[in-house]
Structure formats: structure tokens, C-alpha cells
Symmetry: C2
Subunit: 350 residues, 2 copies
């Protein structure tokens, strides 16, 4: 049982920066007595924000001034070299030094991925870190989808390792011993897809520690068929953002249709609780907090357009990962699987 | 103005085969006086099906008996070599010989793509055919998404050509002179994505005939920002199927939530027309009929799990493409663009 839990926050990232991160930080410490937050960013801006919320002297909110910000246009390698006093870098450094047990950022994904890999380093045997997130399904359990954008291309061995890491996360988060692991493909038959996917499938089939159930198609993601779905970062990112787009489209069309007649307008008013609940179930904000797994440390990536609620969800996610010891459990899984996953260990990030 | 329009149908493909294709064929000829359909497949099965619908002797429904079927497990190259009297192959042969002006199949996508390319051949200068489909947006116009699964990997030049072909389709279908063309990527900034995408973007920027507007993310697909969105077949297939999955999930959760209380049950009953209309707008059945473009002939691919309604939509789509002379217009566009797109013409399909 943890008595205290310290999380470093990059306060300046994302589309809204301190406008969402400050109220989220205040809400987080108010609802979790064990939480200490180190707020990395422009001191004056953070002080002003906290002051407005009557939280300037909160004993568990500590400000760490940084004079730089990693913007969305920063090239990852440049951000690493030049932005050593940025809020993103400092938050990662605090995890590296052990002052914080995890960090959260809603900044530039590429830069965060690159910096985190260089600062925290990969766990032994891990080829590439991956961005993983829970996605709602028709069942009570979500599905864990990875990679969501950290790696544009993935070798078969990398996809296999993502399966192992996803399996650890799903197992720890859902309390399931052998989560069902699947590969995202353009058909469920063995002959479908490209060579890389087929080779990854072979590696997964051969691994007794992995409960591999075959391919999934895009339409299977939400059925609950698998607990973990593996794909490369390009495909995962497009799939996740497509979901957001179509969810918004459906809500838009539904609201528009209801506004056409007074009768339906009244119905819409009566239906508000159901629609609100539904949106809560499919709204990405509720599932915010994708994590970078495979690193010697916990890094949670919040959406770039994260609201206060979404940023709060990301802080809560980081706290849960500390409690569930995700990096330690991934390391143990890689040790168990042994040579199968460690044929070419590398901490190179290109 | 066409007086008659002949379309060959592969009656045996897809999950439901003649169960959906026969009633769709009957409905199609009943609602379009100019349409003649050649029904390719098992004569006895088709005769029995038509008999049940009192349409056995319909003057514009002609049966062409074929004794083979291309199943979903068929490897594309094997299907081409061994299934010369299959319903899919015969439908394509009828287009090749000019007996039909277009064909429709809901069979194995890989086999259809491979067979169609070999039988009909590519238009001069076209490197690869692409599967294109209309997808609903928040605006009145749909967006044309390609490729949807015909090409797992695409070179930059191929993606560029998809932009040209998509632009022709959108222009002809929406009546817009310069449709907005975009590339699907994992971020909207110029630095995002892999080298192939960046090179394709350069080719599109340089082409004065193309109204290229930059990158789109998955969430932009449905916003109406672009009229044409280009991606490789793996990404496009996952994006499209993910849409189907999340639309089903939202409907499922909504219906479930409404069933929880009698009050909401009553509301749900009253809301039926709105929900029905909404589902009609986002239901893939309504947007069924992805086309293979870039070939010397019109081939419409219906969903594998196409219902009667969906197969009917695919037949209607084929008829519209004949009227709008899509292949001729694509050929003209490639001639106008000239050498930019024809640096390495090839009709090889691997």
C-alpha cells in the first residue's frame, strides 16, 4: 500500500495548456489524499491559475519553474537537444531521478516519445516503446489498443513485443490472467494482410505465455472479442482518431435530427440523461490517458485537445499505473519469455 | 443519354450469396427501366430464387450459368488461374468483351482486385487500381476515401495517382470542379508521418490540376474538410471498418440505455423514426458500393456481408458510374497531367 504518490505534470503542453492542466491538478489533489503533484511550467502562469482557484498554497501542489515549452511544430530530435529546460523534459527528468513516480503530458506526441525514450531508457529486451490506451467495447471491459502513434512502422518482432506488453497491461488493469491478444488486420483469414503481420502472428502463436486468438478487423475492435489489439502506430492512430470523428458525426446528426420538430425537441430534452451517459461511455475524454509502455518509468500521454476532465483522467491513469507496477510487471514478463523477445535488444530511437 | 445499360452481377459472392443478390437484382430492374442485368452464377439456384419472387421470366434478367465460385479462402493468384468459370470471373469477362458496361461483386476483395486487374487491365499510366467509397460527413456532401484495401502498401507516386483518381470521381459525383484533396496522416503538421506520405504530399502540391489542401487526421474524415482523402489500403480498410464498429457500438449502448427504464422505453418507441433516419445516414449499407478505379472498365465491390439493400445500392452505384463515364474521365485526367504521373507505368499486380 502506497502512502504517498508523486506525479510530475507537464503543465504547458496541448492545445489548452495551463487552462486545462491547472484545474485538473487542483481536482486531482482534492479527490486523492495520497497524491503529490509537481507542476512543471511557467511559474507565474501556474501561480496565477492556482490563485484563481484558491489553491495557491495547497501543500500537495508544488511548482517547478521551467522557462521553455515544446510546441507542436518542434521536431522530436530538436526538442531533445534544445529544450532541456522545457516543462516536458523537466517532468521526465523528475521521473528519471526518482523524485516523481510517473509523469503526465498532453504535449507533442513525437517529442514526448523521443525524449521519454532517451531520458528514461527502454526496459531490458524491449525494442520500442508503444502508446497504449483503453477503448470502450460492447462488453463491460475495454480493449487495450497499441500502438497509437509512437511508431509509424513496426517490425514483426516489435508487434510481438507490443502483444506481450499489452497483455501485461490488460492483465493488471482487468484482473484477467490470460487476456485475449489479437493483431489488427484487413481480414480475419490467415492469408490476409502483409508479410510483417503474418510473421508477427507466427511469433505470437509460438509464445505459450501469450493467449493469441488470431486477427481482428477494424469492426471487431469494439465487440470485446479481444482484450488487447496490436497494430503499428500509424494504423492505431488513424483508427483511434476515426472513432472520435464518427462518434462526433453520429452525435451531430442525432442532435440535428431531433431539432427538426418541436415534438422531437421535447423528446431530446427528456432524453438528456441517456444521451449524456452514452456520450460519457464513448467520449474519448473518459478514456483519456494513453501510456507509453516499455520504458523504465511511467509516462502518460493526455490528448492534445484534453479538457480539464480529460487531463484529470490522465493523472488518475498515471496513479493507477504506479499502484499496479506496470513497468516492473512488463520487465518480469520479458524475463519469463526470455530469448524469444530479446534477439536484438536495442535502445535506439530513430 | 443511354437507352439501355447492361450490368453483369456476380450472384454467388459474399456471406449471403444469392439470398441477397437475387432480391437486389429484381428490385434493381423494377426501379430502373433501362437496366439489363446478367446474373452470373449457378443457374438452378438463381432460377429457384427468381421463381420465388415471381420474376423467372423477367425480360431484363438474363442468367449466365457458371459452375464455380471464388470463396473467401481462395488465394487471389489461385482464383485467377483456376476459377475461370467462376461467377466473379465471368462477370469480369462480360465487361471485357463489352457485353456488359459494368459489373458488381460482393466476393473476396483480394481475388476481385487481382482478377479485375488481369482481365480488364489498367488505364494507360495508372500504376495500381484503388478501391474508393463515399463516406458520410457533417456536411451535405460525402467524402471519397481511397484506397480501402486493394493495396496494402503504396508508393508516394501511387498515393499521388489515387489523389488524381479520387478527384475525378468526386468531381463527377458531386459536380464540383476542383474537389479538395487531402492525405490521411497521424497529424496535420508538415513534419508528421513517414517519408512516403511526405513525398506524396510534395507530388500533390506540385500538381496544378489537383486542389491539394494538406494532411487530414482520422477525426477529420467526417468533418467535410476534404472531398477526397487518400491513404494506403491497409489504413483505409481499418479506418472504414472501425467506423462500422463504433457506429454499431454507439447504437448498441444507446438501445441498451433506453431499455433500462419503462419511461425511456416509451421514448425509444416515439423516437424510432429519428433513430431509423440516423442509422440510414451512418449505416454502411447506404454507402455500399466501393468501386475499383484505374481499370479499363467499371467494377463495383459490394460489402462481403451485403444485405439486399446494400447489394441494390452497389448496382445503382455501377449504373451511375457508367452514366458518368468514370474510366474515360480518369484516362483524360492522366493524359492532361502527362509525364508527372507516368514516370513508371506498370500493369504488374503482385
Amino acid at each position: 500500500m502506497l502512502t504517498h504518490l508523486t506525479i510530475a505534470l507537464d503543465m504547458m503542453g496541448g492545445d489548452y495548456g495551463p487552462r486545462s492542466s491547472i484545474p485538473a491538478a487542483v481536482a486531482a489533489v482534492n479527490q486523492n489524499d495520497q497524491l503529490i503533484l509537481i507542476l512543471c511550467g511557467n511559474e507565474q502562469v501556474i501561480r496565477d491559475g492556482l490563485d484563481k482557484l484558491d489553491s495557491l498554497n495547497h501543500p500537495r501542489l508544488k511548482i517547478h519553474h521551467c522557462h521553455e515549452v515544446v510546441t507542436n511544430c518542434c521536431e522530436p530530435a530538436q526538442a531533445l537537444r534544445r529544450k532541456k529546460d522545457s516543462s516536458m523534459r523537466v517532468a521526465l527528468d523528475l521521473v528519471k531521478s526518482g523524485e516523481a513516480q510517473a509523469c503526465v503530458s498532453s504535449g507533442n506526441t513525437g517529442a514526448l516519445f523521443f525524449m521519454a525514450t532517451h531520458v528514461l531508457k527502454l526496459l531490458p529486451g524491449v525494442k520500442r516503446p508503444a502508446l497504449i490506451s483503453a477503448v470502450p467495447t460492447e462488453t463491460k471491459d475495454p480493449v487495450y489498443l497499441l500502438d497509437l502513434g509512437a511508431n509509424v512502422f513496426c517490425e514483426p518482432q516489435t508487434l510481438f513485443q507490443f502483444g506481450v506488453m499489452g497483455s501485461v497491461v490488460a492483465s493488471r488493469r482487468l484482473g484477467i490472467e490470460r487476456p485475449r491478444v489479437s493483431l489488427l488486420n484487413i481480414g480475419s483469414e490467415d492469408i490476409k494482410g502483409h508479410e510483417g503481420i503474418k510473421q508477427a502472428a507466427e511469433l505470437m502463436k509460438k509464445c505459450p505465455q501469450l493467449n493469441y486468438i488470431g486477427y481482428s478487423e477494424g469492426s471487431d475492435i469494439f465487440s470485446g472479442k479481444a482484450h488487447v489489439i496490436v497494430c503499428d502506430g500509424f494504423v492505431g492512430n488513424v483508427a483511434l482518431k476515426t472513432c472520435e470523428g464518427i462518434a462526433k458525426l453520429i452525435m451531430h446528426k442525432f442532435t440535428k435530427a431531433l431539432k427538426k420538430h418541436l415534438f422531437y425537441k421535447v423528446l431530446a430534452f427528456l432524453l438528456r440523461p441517456v444521451i449524456k451517459k452514452l456520450y460519457k461511455r464513448v467520449n474519448p475524454d473518459q478514456y483519456n490517458g494513453a501510456s507509453l509502455v516499455g520504458l523504465c518509468g511511467i509516462v502518460v500521454k493526455s490528448h492534445g485537445n484534453a479538457s480539464k476532465k480529460a487531463f484529470l483522467a490522465a493523472i488518475e491513469e498515471a496513479a493507477r499505473e504506479v499502484e499496479r507496477q506496470i513497468p516492473e510487471k512488463i520487465q518480469a514478463a520479458f524475463e519469463r519469455i526470455g530469448t524469444a523477445t530479446t534477439t536484438s535488444p536495442s535502445s535506439k530511437v530513430d
